[in-house]
Amino acid sequence: MWERVKNWMETRIGLDDLVRSQVTEYRVPKNINIFYTLGFVAAIGYLIQVLSGIMLLIYYVPHPDHAFKSVQFIMHTVPYGWLFRQMHVVGSNLMIAAIGLHMLTVFAMGNYKRPRELTWVGGALLLFVTVAFGFSGYLLPWTQLSYWATTVVTSIPTAVPVIGDFVAGILRGGDHVTGTTLSRFFAFHVSILPPLFMILVGVHLFLIKRIGISATPFGQQAEEKRPWTEYHKKSHADGYPYYPRFFQMDMLMVMVYLAIMFALITLTPNLFFPEEAIIPANAFKTPVNVRPEWYLLAPYQMLKLIPNKFLGIIIQLALFMVFLLWPFFDTEKEKNIMKRPLLRGLFLFSFILWLILMFWGRS
């Protein structure tokens, strides 16, 4: 039976050739390391979000009178509803962590350099869209935490002169967070962001396939570490085949990702559900501990520290643009960060500052 299906496919799409060219004979650099698997791990993370999100959609009702109750129904009555919700919530945090770590390691290995500038930009936009997924999904359970965190974050644009109130009004659908905001965030979360994400993934993968995987800068000849000046596809003829060697590394890291996810769900089920996250939204009472998710804490704390809100937003926009367009700022030929003390210092300083702001914002 299987043979017949295989032959049928072979006649139509040339399955053997496809598997040979894309899997068994597809070569990856010899000095590839475990961090190269993080993009694949993030893609699997997204798949988990899609599947668990579809399961939640069956029972979730995006209306202020029903949203909280429907989420409680999923958690307490629907068979295994709690599991899918936990996977969705924990998975959203882990996916952002995986993409963040992916970008950190790409940065540390200088793999954003020419000719891969656009691959970096696509990846940074994917991180931005993933954070937008997290932010829009945060409001949907309609809890005290989600309501007030959304109030705070959607108030941030109001500091921008002329267009600030307009932007906040577009986000909220009015002056305050209401049922209209919930509808907008729901639509954004389930129908606008997913195709946007898939388009960016398509562009990202196209660039990776078209340009070829970048080798690490460690243990190579100086000439090989320099970016080339004309187009040619890096095929790594002397590298390892993707299957089975690198495929096994991919699978190992997916298992690690799943192990972390289920360990968090099992051992710390309330990690992402503080007290305010289990109380229905009350538009007349702001709880004491309002704060966004951990990945927004650093920019949030920075906004709190800068006395002028407008200046704070401008600084953050400038930092985001530097991050997004970093390959165009860093034109130094040397890829190896170990041979670039200034860049290494800047990298460590930024990373430590981000950690300090994150923990400070949490306290």
Binding site: T151, A159, A283, T286, P287, V290, K304, K309
Partner: protein, 79 residues
């Protein structure tokens, strides 16, 4: 609520009643009355206002907007 904005009426000793918006001018959280210190406190980022709605400390950029209030007999009319 006044025009969709949560508001509070304060009875200031010797100065009479005043109505102010409860929406903190920093990031939109609702201020609460701090009975001990006789002031209005924002629970989000510790913005502090006096009973006139003026900023005492913290990140708020503007005072709390005052709402027009008058007393007609035993009725308080806002607006």
């Amino acid at each position: 609520m006044f025009n969709g904005v949560p508001a509070v009426i304060l009875n200031r000793p010797g100065k009479g009643l005043i109505a102010v918006s409860r929406v903190c001018t920093h990031l939109g959280c609702l201020v609460q009355y701090d009975k001990e210190n006789r002031r209005l406190l924002c629970p989000c980022h510790a913005g502090v206002y006096d009973l006139e709605g003026n900023i005492v400390s913290g990140p708020p950029p503007k005072p709390l907007p005052k709402l027009p209030l008058r007393v007609e007999g035993e009725t308080i009319v806002i607006g």
